[in-house]
């Protein structure tokens, strides 16, 4: 079946096997320069530790590698191809100047252990980015060390733990709303906190009465995503912070949805004590098919003694350096200083925007989500009518009557030339369609998206099978995930 709608069309797509299936002895894509020191006898130097055979490693030429990965690349959807409305993932444009500056020689080739004297360029980037992020979040200090959002969560909770320990009142549990990302409870478990669920009220926000009832001296912190995963700003945020603080607890903010706030409101101003950012969401560093990310953690003054080591400092002579002697530190969470290449990209993004651009970006992101909400209201069920910030969550309630669920609608959207939205999350909305357009979409692209979603809703009414069997225009149809998990084949093996 052909692709559907004005956005997508047919395109010849090359088949390509596994690289191992192209390999044959004697082909090569490498050439080393002649050795300028005497040859050595590996057997003599290494003895029993010498490796004789590299098994089934491929032997292929350069053109084959280029074609292999280029062909594979054409099987992927990408932001560069069109709207990628994954809710809570913030799939925004990845500026190319970011890539160019990350590859400048002294930054790309800088060794983490080179003397500080010749590392001032990299350290200046760390300092400038830190200052920007501190002002954007309204916090007092920051660590850039965590490698991703979940790693930032762990670092933040370790600091929470160290803080309570220093107060002489170690606590046992973390409150987490039922709308939270799975990483939140998984992280709490990693730092040995018990997880207690906090239910949402009928408007999709934290149930204040429930919070008051559950809050006690055993609670170390509340992990709150704001705006939450429904795209709803917690309007009672000041009350939430007060309830926690009154009993000595801390407010942790998951900054996954910071794209709704930058330049408009600062978490530090509404009572947050500790939060992480995702540079690969809000600050435009590329997702790269699942990473690398970067998860800086910003904190209030009272948590500063507990920052991971090392901490960036300005020395008496004005030069920058790292301080390692931090007796109350939670320790190190990663070797070296974090995903530096992502810091370069994030700073380039901030520079390209400036204060006015960052504000406009946030306004456009929220405007886009509300435009989509308006366009699809009535066509899809809107379980929470609370005002929308940067993302909107519908449910498949109307389509489910025809046996079509959110995943089916998502798969059909592929035939219209779009990446699906986030399906079946947050858990408080059965059959959720979670849509985050970001600021990177034009009115035209969103109109096409709204039209596609409406057309799918009509199809569901007329012939549910179309969605149930979708996608129809991809090189593979729906894959058997059950079989994949039951008898895992996790690597290629040579034919027997």
């Amino acid at each position: 079946m052909k692709p559907t709608g004005p956005k997508a069309t047919l395109h010849v797509n090359q088949n390509e096997g596994l690289i191992f299936e192209k390999s044959s002895a004697g082909k090569a894509a490498w050439k080393l320069p002649p050795l300028d020191v005497p040859e050595v006898d590996a057997a003599k130097l290494l003895g029993a530790s010498e490796r004789k055979d590299l098994g089934n490693m491929p032997e292929v030429s350069e053109i084959e590698i280029i074609r292999h990965f280029t062909r594979l690349s054409t099987w992927n959807y990408a932001i560069d191809l069109g709207m990628y409305p994954l809710g809570s993932c913030t799939m925004k444009y990845n500026p190319r100047v970011n890539e160019a500056v990350a590859r400048v020689e002294g930054l790309a080739n800088g060794h983490p252990y080179q003397p500080e004297k010749i590392s001032q360029g990299a350290l200046q980037i760390l300092k400038t980015l830190s200052e920007c992020l501190i002002d954007i979040t309204g916090m007092d200090a920051i660590t850039l060390q965590p490698a991703a959002g979940a790693h930032g969560e762990m670092t933040g909770l370790l600091m929470v733990r160290a803080y309570h320990h220093a107060q002489g009142r170690p606590r046992k549990k973390i409150l987490i709303p039922d709308s939270a990302h799975g990483t939140n409870p998984a992280t709490a478990a990693m730092v040995d906190y018990a997880v207690e669920n906090l239910k949402s009220d009928s408007r999709g926000m934290v149930d204040i009465a429930a919070l008051e009832a559950q809050m006690n001296e055993d609670v170390a912190a509340l992990m709150l995503t704001n705006p939450n995963t429904l795209g709803v700003f917690e309007q009672q945020i000041h009350k939430i912070a007060d309830i926690l603080h009154a009993k000595g607890g801390l407010l942790y903010m998951d900054g996954a949805n910071m794209n709704a706030l930058v330049g408009k409101v600062r978490p530090g101003d509404f009572g947050v004590d500790v939060m992480h950012l995702n540079l690969h969401k809000t600050f435009s560093t590329p997702h790269g098919g699942g990473g690398p990310g970067s998860g800086p953690v910003a904190i209030k003054k009272k948590l500063e003694p507990f920052l991971p080591t090392p901490v960036l400092v300005t020395r008496a002579d004005g030069s920058l350096g790292f301080e390692y002697n931090r007796p109350q530190s939670v320790g190190r969470v990663r070797a070296f200083y974090g995903n530096f290449g992502m810091f370069v990209r994030a700073l380039a993004y901030i520079q390209a925007n400036g204060p006015d651009g960052l504000r406009q970006t946030t306004e456009d992101a929220v405007l886009n989500a509300n435009y989509i909400r308006k366009g699809l209201e009535g066509t899809y069920d809107l379980p929470y009518t609370t005002p929308t910030m940067h993302e909107v969550v519908f449910s498949d309630k109307l389509q489910a009557k025809k046996g079509v669920r959110t995943m089916d609608i998502a798969k059909r959207l592929i035939d219209y030339g779009f990446h699906p939205y986030t399906t079946a999350f947050p858990l408080i909305v059965p059959g959720a369609l979670m849509i985050e357009p970001t600021e990177s979409e034009s009115k035209e692209e969103m109109d096409l998206f709204i039209d596609a979603m409406k057309a799918i809703a009509e199809e569901v009414n007329e012939d549910p099978q179309i969605a149930l069997n979708a996608p129809h225009s991809t090189r593979v149809s729906r894959l058997d995930e059950t079989a994949a998990a039951r008898k895992p084949v996790l690597r290629w093996k040579p034919p027997a």
Binding site: P58, N76, D135, T183, T309, D356, P471, T474, A485
Partner: protein, 458 residues
């Protein structure tokens, strides 16, 4: 703003469609007292040319043009040009985690190939799609061993990268995992006698690195035997992936935690890098991180999907094997392309060049200092002990645009005036000779002052 695809007229039309008069109404849910009524204190909006200039300037202040002998967990190897050509394709660069398999087959197949090649190189049966880096991979591998054995205490080799040890200590603090350290013997390898004494029926695993922090290759078979005899698992960290071209992989290990930065990933002042965990099939359900598996579509065509997700946080929440979500996919793709370029024969030849350069360098340095641990095999790093403080030596070298070996006093005070030197295929003979000349005290123009040494130490 040049990244935003809307005209003022577009914005007006959209507001009108929503039924609003101004964009401010969209932010009405935010209590007024918290709204920011000033510009953020960030640099003003800059032109692309200004941004490029800014970072070029920072690059000039960052050791551009220096010759370096640093390794210690971050290695300077040649990066074939096609790595950046291919990873710059928007379809790889700007795609999300491949949850929607039908439009992510490119990423999925490449990860499947990556997993396969890591298995081939490490001698393991299963490898994951990547971890943050070598240090966190080692910590997660230890936690995996704790889950698998139901035991809690861990023995860590002192010859494991000191920063990896620090990361493990951070992870272990609140997991109720007591850590003990096993020292190294005169040959720089794990002190086997000490290990035998400290291992108990409570030991979940022994964590070593090979080649270890000193570049010395451990006797993995002997250590594995002791671990297994006591019902413990052996976890081996590999920080220098190129060693796998010529050094026998730790096949006796139960879990391998690797840092694959050497395979085509820029030094980048410490990251992003590419951790990986590899292990045995029977342990797969306790592995952290994403896994790609082969399956078929409705028509029976081969395809790939993320699989065994019931281990992961988005399904299991607080009962997950790890909280890891975003990993290092694009960096794993660099590693993948690198492995394809060098392949079965090239990796061996590349590793041999590293071995030859290092053997030559160690021979030259031996004329002016003592090479420690020279009675055990090594790959591309070695420890030079000198009469003079290595900080002073490095101060002299830095003036000649040479970054000398890593002084070890901070990590291993017991080794005295020792430094860890590294040579790769990129280290030229003339650079080695120049560095050796700098180390030789007699050739120093003038003894460097204490202040100078302290300055360099920072």
């Amino acid at each position: 703003m040049r990244y935003l695809p809307k005209s003022p007229a577009d914005r007006d039309a959209m507001l009108k469609a929503i039924g609003l008069r101004s964009v401010d109404e969209l932010f009405a849910p935010i209590p007024a007292e918290y709204r920011l009524n000033r510009d953020l204190k960030v640099p003003r909006q800059m032109a692309e040319s200004e941004i490029v200039d800014y970072f070029r300037q920072r690059s000039r202040e960052n050791g551009e043009g220096y010759t370096s002998f640093l390794g210690a967990g971050a290695y300077a190897h040649y990066r074939p040009v096609i790595i950046d050509s291919l990873i710059s394709r928007g379809e790889f660069l700007t795609a999300y985690t491949p949850y929607q398999a039908e439009i992510s087959q490119g990423t999925l197949q490449s990860i499947f190939e990556f997993q396969t090649m890591i298995c081939e190189l490490t001698g393991m049966e299963v490898a994951n799609a990547s971890m943050y880096d070598g240090s966190t991979a080692a910590a997660e591998a230890v936690m995996m061993a704790v889950r698998l054995t139901g035991r809690r205490s861990v023995i860590v080799a002192r010859s494991l990268h000191p920063e990896y040890r620090e990361v493990l200590a951070t992870y272990a603090t609140h997991q109720g995992m007591p850590l003990s350290i096993a020292g190294f013997a005169n040959d720089g390898r794990l002190n086997v006698g000490e290990l035998e004494k400290s291992i108990t029926p409570e030991t979940a695993c022994v964590l070593i690195q090979s080649p270890n922090f000193f570049g010395t290759i451990e006797d993995v078979a002997a250590i594995a035997e002791i671990a297994h005899k006591n019902g413990a698992l052996l976890v081996v960290s590999i920080a220098e992936a190129v060693s796998l071209g010529i050094v026998e992989p730790p096949r006796q290990a139960d879990i391998i935690a690797m840092e694959a930065q050497s395979f085509g990933v820029p030094l980048g002042f410490g990251g992003p890098y590419c951790g990986v965990i590899a292990s045995r099939d029977k342990f797969v359900r306790q592995m952290p991180g994403r896994l790609v598996g082969q399956t078929v579509d409705k028509q029976g065509r081969r395809g790939f999907v993320l699989t065994l997700a019931t281990r992961e946080q988005h399904i299991r929440r607080e009962k997950a094997t790890s909280n890891i979500c975003t990993n290092q996919a694009l960096v794993a793709l660099m590693v993948n392309i690198f492995m394809n370029v060098y392949g079965k024969v090239g990796l061996k030849e590349l590793a041999k060049q590293n071995l030859a350069k290092t053997a030559y360098a160690a021979g030259q340095f031996a004329k002016h200092g003592k090479i420690l641990f020279s009675n055990a095999p090594r790959f591309n790093e070695f420890v030079v002990q000198t009469e003079e403080d290595p900080q002073a030596i490095n101060g002299r070298l830095l003036k000649r645009q040479i970054v000398g070996g890593l002084p070890l006093k901070k990590f291993y005070p017991e080794l005295g005036n020792a430094a860890l030197w590294c040579c790769t295929e990129l280290t030229t003979r003339s650079a080695i000779d120049a560095a050796v000349a700098g180390v030789a005290k007699s050739e120093a123009p003038a003894p460097s002052t204490k202040e100078e040494a302290e300055e360099v130490a920072r």
